[in-house]
Symmetry: C2
């Protein structure tokens, strides 16, 4: 093994073949419409648990891609997820990318109201980008606030709900998913404890690559 490089595309194809073979060996058959997302999350984590824990509302992947083809902005709950989302793909699709966690206004409102910055940052998104795709990889309180706002009438294009952790995380994803199902908002969530900013970014990237491919098959982005 040397540092002379195998092309990133070759490594990715080999990785995806290994993932497909190991899913087959485990007897796991993924619904074709969700396959690219689940495989990309496994590619990002080397964790096959996600084949069991990722949940999708009907047509969530398709509706997410369609939103990106319309140039829908993405709002994340961490700068880490923001850093992990493919800039060339966003540019190709004309989508913008935002995280409001570091806005002084968000910090001030959170302090004044005694709620988390993550919750306030999602209210901020509902005002600034009401039809955004929301990608939440960290804060259960962001998901809970999104669920409340959806019940009050907010209709984001898609909610990616994949916080990781041991406190309030499992419940927040269940509450979010139920609210999205009840209100017809597309959602993709990693049930259970696992998730994270890398997983949120991976799901957005799988959607971005698929959306960009249908614009131009040569435009596939490699992160």
């Amino acid at each position: 093994m040397k540092t002379r490089h195998t092309l990133p595309g070759d490594i990715e194809r080999t990785s995806m073949s290994i993932i497909a073979a190991e899913l087959a060996a485990r007897g796991i058959v993924l619904p074709p419409e969700n396959e690219a997302i689940v495989k990309r999350v496994i590619h990002t984590t080397a964790d096959f648990d996600y084949a069991q824990t990722l949940r999708f509302t009907p047509e969530a992947a398709e509706r997410g891609q369609a939103a990106l083809r319309r140039g829908t902005p993405i709002v994340t709950d961490t700068n880490m997820a923001k850093a992990g989302i493919s800039k060339p793909s966003l540019e190709k699709l004309g989508c913008t990318l935002h995280c409001f966690m570091a806005e002084p206004e968000v910090a001030r409102m959170a302090r004044e109201r005694g709620i988390t910055r993550a919750a306030v940052s999602m209210e901020y998104a509902s005002q600034e980008y009401p039809s955004a795709i929301l990608a939440v990889g960290n804060a259960p309180t962001a998901l809970l606030r999104i669920a409340e706002l959806i019940e009050a009438g907010w209709r984001p294009a898609l909610v990616v709900g994949v916080p990781v952790g041991f406190v309030n995380v499992v419940e927040s994803k269940e509450i979010l998913f139920a609210a999205c199902e009840a209100c017809g908002v597309p959602a993709i969530a990693a049930m259970g404890r696992k998730g994270g900013s890398s997983v949120a970014a991976a799901i957005c990237n799988a959607l971005l690559y698929a959306a960009a491919e249908t614009l131009d098959p040569a435009a596939r982005g490699w992160q």
Copy 2:
């Protein structure tokens, strides 16, 4: 469960108690010097596999903390890992944080020599910050180049080697760890396929928090 916030410190303490209890239930006893790092990685991933896969050269954690207390810079192989590392803790310790992946010079040299940007970015680090802490969460070729440079005499303060993936990843971590052991360079690696930018950031943060705590017990950073 409400969006009104439990203090982040309380959530973190509860999470760490749950992790400690589940480690005990699995019969896992961590060496005290590595405990904070292993627990923080589990906290970041909700994945107890890391209790088995994280490997440390002797005194790696202690030497990493000492380096940070001296203001040693950290160099990452992705902007995502860079985004995940605690800025208040870096500031408190007077450490700087760098990622050279997006430097036009790095891209140009990688093209000219037919090697990866990640490998070139580590050469760049060896010139610009020869005594840095290196945090590699993505690129096996970065680890392989680091191993070669260490064998040629480079002595970084610590190598955190935790790429994730299915191709060349397992081997790159074994080669890196062996080179570090042979040359007396402190190393922390996640053996096997798992790892990633979040894991690289979590290990750096555990070291930063511990280093900052010994400067001032009230300075513990919460990300």
